[in-house]
Symmetry: C2
Subunit: 306 residues, 2 copies
């Protein structure tokens, strides 16, 4: 991935210092946009940061591997961390990077959790209990620290995006949550910090996710609306190629629940998958009828340009 | 209670309209202080509003009987509501009153709850499951709507004050939470919106709460630090006079847990009670070593002047 050029962003460790800096910027009439990340940045993150730049005068990126959204048997310890590489990637793109220590975010005595009911129960929530409580809580905290007008999230973590949207509306936070299309590798694999854990052989098999979603997208484009058929098309691509299927979900993108009746004319459907390839958990999704998953041979997805 | 004079506050029903108005005030460099209430205002509320005036340029009072903090067998339906009287009491004291409908605060699809662990488990939390989740959530929402520098709460609801403080710190909300002494009737009864439900005979018995707390305060002032002795002194005043004791708590004011060891020299102790008198639930508390509960015969508590 080519590194961008320009000045390195300034790194702040102290959320209170960040707030003072941004209060001064806001008092001067400057608008703040925010991209929360866990670091290990890739082209998908950088697209979010570029979009943030279009929305505001000051772009803040947080880099914080949030322990409360990892389960006890998940990959918190092995989650990739490389702040210096991340900062070089953000050169010329972000103005400020908030990179707090765990103790600055969760000082002793921290006791507050935000729970979003409903949206968090299925999909990744079913196999990752507490994950979305951790996400909602840290995002609310980061929103308070940064005070952005807009915050930009990737649609690759679609359930996370919907949970954050719901939490933001429900808590009346004065933040516009923006979801951006998934950025993909030339062969269609969704960009993810966890892709770097894949062996070359696993990397080849990992394209099964996007191929399953493409099969569903092609059928949807041809008029197919049966959840069972679409689900079967996704699974047909996964079976024999991935090492375990956590879920295949085809349903309502707003509620993340199965459709109660037929899909309305003009309505979209979410197709989402979570699998294990080797020891790595991978997710992907597409909103059928709302985005184009066709990838030109050898080229980038149109989504990356959007 | 004498009504104050001065212009009636402006009433806004729409939280978004309030935010626009206050954004304009903030952009002009004016500071906002906030007093959240459920209406049925009494002299205790008015003291909070007067204090808010000392802290900021714009004083906002919310009047909202929050349904999510009432249990299914509690007094939501009978909670006193009289907006016009409340507004007259706020004349000359508050600039803006936010009085939203339930649907403006909890539109369809609302799914987010804030939970503060630990502090919410004992005292009122034990007999009012979910109560403090409702309080924490609505206070966070109101803080977002109003965007105050300071928010003023009464110490009569001491557990609520501690929960709000914890939530505010934990979610990094840029709000200073201020706790103010309990305002009392001439005979010492803590001011409460629920006092108006008491019959004259119940009203006489209701002074048992403050008399129990005074007995503990007198013993504490004389050097007593035994939780069992102080608890017994409170109960001795309550028994035979109230119609049911929910709890008597003597313990750590910060954690709302029993002390693990002896009270440290110079340390304070919280004495808190919840009882039923007739069909009315009443609470009261005092922080032993931190405030003076002595009430001059026929006069007001020093607390009301503080």
């Amino acid at each position: 991935m080519p590194e961008t050029t320009g000045p390195l962003p300034e790194v702040l460790r102290d959320p209170c210092e960040l707030r003072r800096r941004l209060d001064a910027a806001r008092a001067g009439g400057r608008r703040v946009a925010f991209v929360p990340t866990m670091g290990a940045l890739h082209a998908g993150h950088l697209e979010l940061v570029r979009h943030a730049r279009e929305l505001a005068d000051v772009v803040v990126v947080s880099i914080f591997v949030n322990p409360t959204q990892f389960g006890p048997r998940e990959d918190l310890a092995s989650y990739p961390r490389d702040l210096q590489t991340d900062l070089r990637l953000l050169a010329g793109l972000a103005d400020l990077v908030l990179a707090p220590g765990v103790e600055a975010v969760y000082p002793p005595g921290h006791a507050t959790t935000i729970h979003v009911a409903g949206l968090t129960e299925g999909l990744c929530g079913a196999s990752r209990p507490g994950h979305f409580d951790g996400v909602a809580t840290v995002v609310a905290k980061l929103f308070s620290m940064v005070g952005p007008c807009s915050a930009v999230f990737g649609r690759k973590d679609f359930q996370q995006l919907q949970v954050v949207r719901r939490m933001t509306v429900d808590l009346d936070l004065p933040v516009t949550v923006v979801g951006r299309p998934t950025v993909r590798e030339p062969d269609g694999l969704a960009m993810s910090s966890r892709n770097r854990h894949l062996t070359p052989e696993e990397r080849r098999r990992a394209t099964a996710l996007v191929e399953g979603l493409r099969a569903a997208a092609a059928a949807f484009a041809a008029g197919e609306r049966s959840v069972a058929v679409l689900d079967g098309l996704v699974r047909a691509q996964l079976e024999g190629r991935v090492d375990g299927i956590d879920y295949v979900f085809v349903g309502n993108p707003e509620t993340l629940q199965p459709f109660a009746g037929p899909v309305p004319p003009g309505g979209t459907m979410l197709a989402a998958v979570a699998v294990r390839v080797g020891r790595t958990r991978l997710i992907d999704n597409t909103e059928l009828g709302a985005e184009d998953l066709v990838v030109p041979a050898g080229g980038h997805s149109p989504g990356t340009q959007d």
